[in-house]
């Protein structure tokens, strides 16, 4: 699993990346009440806002950690947004993206580097 400074995670299996927001991000947001995930077929570029997550207080953009084509958004979050708080790095995934350029992941942090990054915030 790799991580961005915007607190997204990405897990690559073959050429399909599953992406979501980190536990730290979910904890900071507090109670998630609404999630808008991208539709299949949408082309996204790394760092594009491609999903929205909302707490009681505010809406926040979620940025694509890698470029590619969305093959599935997690529709289950529409009726159960609280899954993002309960299991952010598992059932609370946002989308699956068919990756264009796996080398983009090399620029992201591994778990140890991300944990270190969190201590600097």
């Amino acid at each position: 699993m790799k991580f961005t400074k915007d607190h997204e995670w990405v897990r690559l299996e073959g050429d399909v990346a599953t992406v979501g927001i980190t536990k730290h991000a979910a904890d900071q947001l507090g109670d998630v009440v609404f999630v808008e995930t991208p539709e299949a077929g949408r082309a996204v570029s790394q760092k594009d806002g491609f999903a929205v997550v909302e707490s009681v207080k505010a809406a926040s953009d979620v940025y694509a950690p890698v470029s590619g084509e969305v093959i599935e958004g997690n529709d289950a979050l529409a009726s159960a947004p609280e899954t993002v708080n309960a299991d952010p790095e598992g059932a609370g995934w946002f989308a699956k993206i068919k990756v264009l350029n796996p080398a983009e992941l090399d620029g992201l942090m591994d778990r140890a580097a991300y944990d270190q990054f969190l201590t600097t915030l």
Binding site: V33, E54, A58, A59
Partner: protein
């Protein structure tokens, strides 16, 4: 880590000890949440929530002309206000715009005790310093904390400490000894629930806060839930839902216009206010039920059924009590009737909305029958 430009309330250390997440609000380092906004919201609706609202401005206006001078800039009848009562009002500019909304009451026989919004207090106090004339004097009570306790169990909690508080009806106020200190207490709040607001000396605030938290019915509540609670109660937030460009008529706050003051037309901004009462305002604050999609937040456009943009959302979000998305915003009076089908535009997408009555969640104030 605290932003050094932010001021702190006398309860700052207590919030940090409780593990609150802190944010800047109204120039103060304030708790936005403790255990979570939804849980805190629900706790307040079901039990008793404790709020630090010490960031708000507290002052006394005293002197033989205090009430007459205060009245020049508000549309409420304070001459008729009995000792032991308080009243919501609006500080108006010469154009009838709302400089701030406030509570002013007579907890004792010595003029008025006023509570104003944190973000406006310096401006409000400067306004009164500059404009109160005759024998009327403003004294800012910046050595006091303000604590609110709100919810259906708030009265039981407080009456255990001071039995006389059971006798208070909604908007009753008094200066009395409470927790061994000189306190101003009113039965009022900003959540739609029964409860009290308690002004105590700053040096005693933490002891009283911790004492109240020892009661199992009481939990600390942050500004996040304070906002969702007041939204459900249909209460406007100054700087968002009302501001110096909006009038009391536009803001749907005509209940704050006393009959005698309208007849006398002798308050700041009366020309515009009376004209709007007679002819109707250009826009009016309404409640909206957003029937699909994402919550509509402040700034989202409101469109009519044909898609023509007619106004903007000024506050909005999910209603934890109702399980649906609600908002308030401004529309022309022709589109303000209950049941009017409108749209809100969230991130470019139109979503169906309907004009609904406010409060969204019934207020549960402790109103005593009029004697």
């Amino acid at each position: 880590m605290t932003d050094a430009s932010l001021k702190i309330t006398p309860l700052n250390a207590a919030h940090r000890a409780l593990g609150a997440r802190m944010v800047g609000f109204g120039g103060y380092d304030m708790p936005v949440q403790y255990e979570g906004v939804l849980a805190e919201h629900r706790w307040t609706r079901e039990h008793a929530g404790l709020f630090d609202v010490s960031h708000m401005g507290q002052a006394k206006i005293t002197g033989a002309d205090a009430i007459a001078q205060f009245e020049r800039f508000v549309p409420g009848d304070y001459q008729a206000l009995k000792a032991g009562k308080q009243k919501y009002s609006l500080l108006l500019n010469a154009q009838g715009g709302i400089i701030d909304d406030l509570m002013a009451g007579r907890p004792d026989h010595d003029g008025l005790f006023v509570v104003v919004n944190a973000g406006n207090k310096d401006e409000d106090f400067a306004f009164w310093q500059a404009n109160l004339s005759g024998d009327a004097k403003l004294t800012v009570l910046d050595d006091r904390a303000l604590i609110a306790i709100q919810g259906p169990e708030a009265a039981e909690v407080m009456v255990a400490h001071e039995p006389v508080l059971a006798e208070f009806g909604f908007m009753d106020t008094a200066r009395l000894m409470l927790f061994g200190v000189d306190a101003y207490v009113s039965r009022s709040g900003y959540t739609g629930e029964d409860g009290y607001e308690i002004s105590v000396p700053a040096k005693d605030a933490e002891r009283i806060w911790n004492l109240l938290l020892q009661d199992a019915r009481v939990k600390p509540i942050g500004l996040g839930a304070r906002d969702s609670l007041r939204l459900e109660a249909g209460l406007p937030l100054h700087g968002h839902d009302i501001d110096p460009t909006t009038s009391p008529v536009e803001g749907a706050l005509t209940f704050a216009l006393s009959k005698s003051r309208k007849e006398a037309a002798n308050f700041n901004g009366a020309v515009r206010v009376l004209k709007e009462l007679a002819e109707g305002p250009a826009r009016v604050r309404v409640g909206l039920h957003v029937k699909e999609g994402a919550p509509a937040r402040e700034g989202a456009e409101i469109a009519d059924a044909e898609g023509q943009v007619i106004g903007k959302v000024t506050s909005g979000g999910p209603s934890p009590s109702l399980g649906k998305n609600i908002a308030m915003g401004y529309v022309p009076p022709s589109q303000a009737a209950l049941g009017t089908a409108l749209q809100v535009i969230v991130r470019g997408k139109p979503a169906a909305a309907e004009v609904v009555a406010m409060p969204f969640v019934a207020q549960r104030y402790h109103r005593k029958p009029k004697s």
